[in-house]
């Protein structure tokens, strides 16, 4: 084990010390004996030069423990992720948790008709604007518009995001050819390559393909991120019983192998590049073949994955919480999202992703975004706990209470009124029934929808300077001329 424990207050811990050690040793064994398929000639060559046993024909690299340990030593445990506005900067480190919305889908629940339709450019902007307004969501991930040209859709969406939010942006490519343009755009907004490295305004996300495949786009992105000092999220997604072992421990091990291999590929080329462990282990329903996202077993894996990354490697973790298989903002979504946020959250995840997702991350919903924002706020309060000390024990107040009717106006109450933390939810109802009925018997989803409408009509993010927008457009036009 290369790193010592550095968790503050992990309140959920499923795996024993021995179990963590076994997973790490299993990772070393698998990487050295079975190897991993690296679908990138340059990546294979680099591994071979560094001492790995590489078969260029089968593209399998068997990586020895010393290379692995060396790479794990240079991965940073904490770093800054910047927002376009410095007030939105994030410190990724133990003890801090941030929210990220669920990005990626090209379909959205229409706010008026409640039907699912394709995402359009206006939705990309509205969505990012809403994220900008969300108190407990700190990182914006885009959704992808169908009415944007396919070959430059990712960079067009990135510009839309820079213009619609001043928070940190998590970006994923639709095409490898967009990679250099993404980096140039980030540099423009940051002001310079150095600025970008000091305070990266974007992180990227790429996935290995289980079982045990590192696709070329992942290697290219690892290296580009390394060159620019941009953190990369390694999104390993084995499916238990299908692309990973059916046992939960086995698929956790598979995701670890893919992550550690990605780390080796990254650190050998650019030691010190920030990497974020971002697994999304799916659970296959063996009667339907569905890859479940919100099941209890998924949540156990999420919590265990947090523990593994933090205890074995001291690497920051991005886990889903919320994650639901429900198609609607209903009770199922509420239940799944809650345990899915609590378990990895209380295990110490640094970033909780998924606000706004429905249907296993296939679609987004603005109302769900607000509901999940509330959930994150509730979680943060739950994670913060409360102090037990002489002051908070309030012996003096208790002493006074024996001869008082109540403590409502007691000086202890008044002293702690504003500091004894209460979370004031915006979407939860506590009304008496009659008032609730008179108000229209609104559900949480209804209340969320009405606030979405308000925000959409009135909320404005801090605008991006016009010159910057123009500079971004120039890059897009250049790319478009070549690619569209």
């Amino acid at each position: 084990m290369s790193k010592t424990k550095a968790i503050q207050k992990a309140m959920v811990r499923y795996i024993s010390d021995e179990g963590i050690e076994k997973i790490h040793q299993g990772t070393l064994t698998a990487m050295e004996e079975t190897g991993v398929k690296v679908l990138h000639e340059g990546g294979l060559a680099m591994l071979s030069d560094a001492g790995a046993n590489v078969d260029m024909k089968s593209q399998i690299a068997r990586i020895p423990a010393n290379l692995i340990e060396k790479s794990l030593d240079t991965v940073p445990s904490s770093f800054v992720m910047g927002g376009r506005e410095e007030k939105n900067d994030l410190m990724i480190q133990t003890g801090k948790v941030y929210g990220r919305n669920g990005g990626g889908p090209g379909s959205i629940v229409d706010i008026d008709s409640n039907q699912v339709r394709y995402v359009e450019e206006r939705d990309v902007r509205d969505h990012a604007r809403l994220v900008d307004a969300m108190e407990h969501i700190h990182i914006a991930a885009p959704v992808y518009a169908k009415d944007m040209p396919g070959n430059t859709r990712d960079i067009r969406v990135l510009k839309a995001l820079f213009e619609s939010t001043s928070k940190h942006i998590n970006m994923r490519l639709l095409n490898l050819h967009s990679l250099p343009y993404v980096m140039r755009m980030a540099e423009v907004v940051a002001g310079s390559r150095d600025n970008l490295r000091q305070r990266p305004l974007i992180t990227m996300l790429e996935s290995p393909i289980a079982p045990l495949k590192i696709p070329d786009v992942l290697v290219e992105t690892l290296w580009a991120c390394g060159e620019h000092g941009i953190p990369l999220e390694i999104c390993s997604m084995p499916i238990t019983g299908a692309t990973g072992p059916i046992t939960l421990a086995g698929s956790l091990l598979m995701s670890n192998i893919e992550m550690v291999t990605s780390i080796v590929l990254s650190q050998l080329a650019h030691p010190g590049t920030p990497i974020i462990f971002t697994p999304r282990i799916m659970v296959m329903d063996m009667t339907t073949g569905y890859s479940l996202t919100g099941s209890v077993e998924n949540a156990l894996l999420a919590a265990a994955g947090v523990q593994l990354a933090r205890e074995a490697y001291n690497i920051p973790v991005n886990m889903h919480g919320p994650y639901t298989d429900s198609q609607a903002s209903d009770v199922q979504a509420g239940i799944e999202n809650t345990y899915f946020t609590l378990l990895p959250g209380l295990a110490g995840a640094n970033i909780l992703t998924g606000s706004g997702h429905l249907e296993g991350g296939l679609i987004i919903s603005f109302s769900q975004l607000l509901i999940d924002n509330e959930l994150l706020g509730l979680f943060e309060r739950a994670a913060a706990g409360f102090e037990v000390n002489d002051e908070t024990l309030g012996l003096d107040a208790i002493a006074r209470s024996i001869s008082a009717d109540n403590l409502l106006a007691d000086k202890h109450t008044r002293k702690h009124l504003r500091t004894s933390r209460r979370y004031y939810p915006k979407l939860l109802t506590r009304e008496a029934r009659e008032r609730w009925v008179n108000g229209g018997s609104l559900t949480m989803a209804d209340r969320a929808t009405s606030i979405v409408r308000e925000l959409l009509s009135s909320y404005e993010p801090t605008p991006l300077p016009v010159e910057t927008s123009l500079a971004l457009q120039e890059i897009i036009d250049e790319a478009s001329a070549k690619l569209d």
Partner: protein, 216 residues
């Protein structure tokens, strides 16, 4: 003796034993059994039982898959031995593949298993296949249905390209096209002119049956 061998063949499928199924098939031929009879009264009986156990929740996907593999292993021995005009009865020949630029295979593989278990003859060409590779397989297997899978929003367009390619080589009228994959929707399938769209492996069977009927 014949009954015993047929029974054992069927059991090899039910118990998911590909090696044994292959050996039994060879033994059956050595003992002069009619290969077609081995298929209909041995293998098909077995795979039907697997299907029933799956439907009622006794068997799960892994058992369905290994049962289909056992059947396949026996077919590899028996089909070449079919004499003259003998052909095993299949609902239709199907080519399955994941489109170009896409390495995801699980969904497609599950569809293949379900189709095999339900009486289709499936040629799975694998992942990252170009339209011309699909077309070559359609021609060589005389398929009347092709299923194209895509898991990424970026590779979905290859499903459209496949349909265009089929038109270009004059095969579009002869082959029904089904599409699927997580980001694929009915709306998209309709937009690109696909004949069928299945949300999951189980409904893929119903779609394929409908398409086979239409093609007949």
């Amino acid at each position: 003796m014949k009954e015993e061998l047929l029974q054992k063949l069927s059991q090899a499928v039910v118990e998911g034993e590909p090696e044994e199924a292959g050996e039994l098939a060879a033994r059956a031929l050595e003992n002069g059994l009619n290969p077609l009879e081995c298929i209909t009264d041995g293998l098909t009986v077995g795979i039907r039982e697997v299907g029933q156990k799956f439907s009622c929740g006794d068997y799960f996907l892994p058992e369905l898959i290994i049962g289909a593999e056992a059947m396949k292993a026996a077919l590899e021995v028996l089909e070449p031995a079919l004499i003259g005009g003998q052909e095993r009865e299949v609902i239709a020949n199907v080519v399955l593949g994941t489109v170009e630029g896409d390495l995801h295979e699980i969904g497609k593989t599950l569809v293949g298993t379900m189709l095999t278990a339900n009486g289709f003859k499936v040629t799975d060409i694998g992942v990252d296949k170009s339209a011309s590779e699909f077309i070559a397989a359609i021609k060589s297997s005389e398929a009347t249905i092709v299923g194209a899978s895509a898991l990424l929003t970026t590779t979905m367009n290859q499903q459209r390209s496949l349909i265009e390619a089929l038109e270009k080589v004059g095969l579009r009228q002869k082959v029904k096209v089904m599409v699927g994959g997580a980001p694929v929707t009915k709306a998209f399938a309709d937009e690109i002119g696909a004949d069928g769209y299945a949300e999951d492996a189980i409904s893929a069977v119903d779609i394929a049956i409908r398409l086979a009927d239409a093609a007949a």
